[in-house]
Assembly symmetry: C2
Amino acid sequence: MVQTGNAASPKERAEALQKLAQRHGAGYRSVGAMAYDIIRDAILDGTLPPGMKLRQETLAESIGISRLPIRSALIQLEADGLVIFHARRGAMVRALSVEEATEVYHLRTLLEKDALRLAMAEITPERITRLRELAKTADDISEGGEFVEARTEFYATLYDAQARPVMWEMIEQLRLKLGRYVLGWRLVSPAEHDHSHGELIDAVAGGDTDEALQVLESHLDHVRDGVIALLDAAATEAAGDGS
Amino acid sequence: MVQTGNAASPKERAEALQKLAQRHGAGYRSVGAMAYDIIRDAILDGTLPPGMKLRQETLAESIGISRLPIRSALIQLEADGLVIFHARRGAMVRALSVEEATEVYHLRTLLEKDALRLAMAEITPERITRLRELAKTADDISEGGEFVEARTEFYATLYDAQARPVMWEMIEQLRLKLGRYVLGWRLVSPAEHDHSHGELIDAVAGGDTDEALQVLESHLDHVRDGVIALLDAAATEAAGDGS
DNA sequence: GAGACAGTTTTTGGATCCAGAATGCAGAGT
DNA sequence: ACTCTGCATTCTGGATCCAAAAACTGTCTC
């Protein structure tokens, strides 16, 4: 079992956290909300790897606040499934098992196909135009944080998040659980997924619902296979490390 | 808009909260976890009605702890969608709109039909026996807290929560959002839903997947209609109140 | 030499204290 | 008489402080 997750040195990690903290500079409603965003981003971009133990004191110092808003943030992250609390023993970054990842993709397929079906029933030409722009942005950008944002906006528009807030919230939750692994996969094999959003929006614009659903499903299957391969490799590696 | 939700007197509410606090006596890992359970139960059984403003001080005094674990609990409840924070203006019990309730039932139908389909593919005679017992318990009990527990255990077994934790978590989340309204509906029309769990388990035992799915769906539709009627009535009443 | 027990140190979780922001009331001006 | 503005009160959100529990280390014994 990987317990410490010491992929990088503690010093490097502290610096990366501080850099994230500076990016999330001012303009926040509350310090706790800022801490939540910083720690979430750190988990998603791999600064805090799965299995990493999260010491409240260290996080607080890195961000430059007290431990209290850190605790608020960690509680929220636990609800998101990114962090797990071991009673009286603090929090650690939650690692996803292969089984859980498979389940998440099963659910995403179920929900997102339904969302797409509903959205396509009332799609407008304006939205398609907007979607093409967003798809281009999402397919062009490779860098971590930016990519996640662009992709989120694309899907929010595609599924009409405004009209179906509860459904969108569920989809976002599922996507959040996987984000860090998808980014890791993109680093490993960057060539494989260049124009996936473009293809999807082409199918949507074509008006053929069944075809669009098929494109979406195979896209999800493709990413799922990549992520699971990554998880398998990590598990094998960890096992190979011995005790 | 119902803002204060003063259905009962403040004194009565404080007493009800204290009673809940006593029920959740000892044996808790942390005070925050206890506070979470108490407040959640209070929301679910109507002691804290939708729209009610949640003053941290008052809650802390009623339960007999400090404000800090209350805040932890409220953050968790926000993640559950039972509470909403208005920045710098504290938390209030979140009310569900008719649109959101409709969406929740749409999603539950989608997820639970899928869960039942998967579970029926690998059902065992032992589980059916166990389910019959649980169904009987759930159909017999009427009282609030007990009923929720019994019903939860029934569905956890039916959908094989152990084998599919992520899916079960999502279903639980959705069910949680509606719990208080379902209980309210049961109070209004107690005759309508006596043997629903029994009927469902009969269909499952019969082995006909399509029929079981149909029973599940019409059960969900039935409850949905009841809850939406209740919400509509509440909205009309609130509008009739004048300003 | 290895294992177990005890003491120390580290770290979480809770309570009290403090500051900043919002709301409500009152007074004055139009 | 009504409205707008300013002040006071109240409540949230954050920081510091404290206690209890767990982990680690060192020593003693078998």
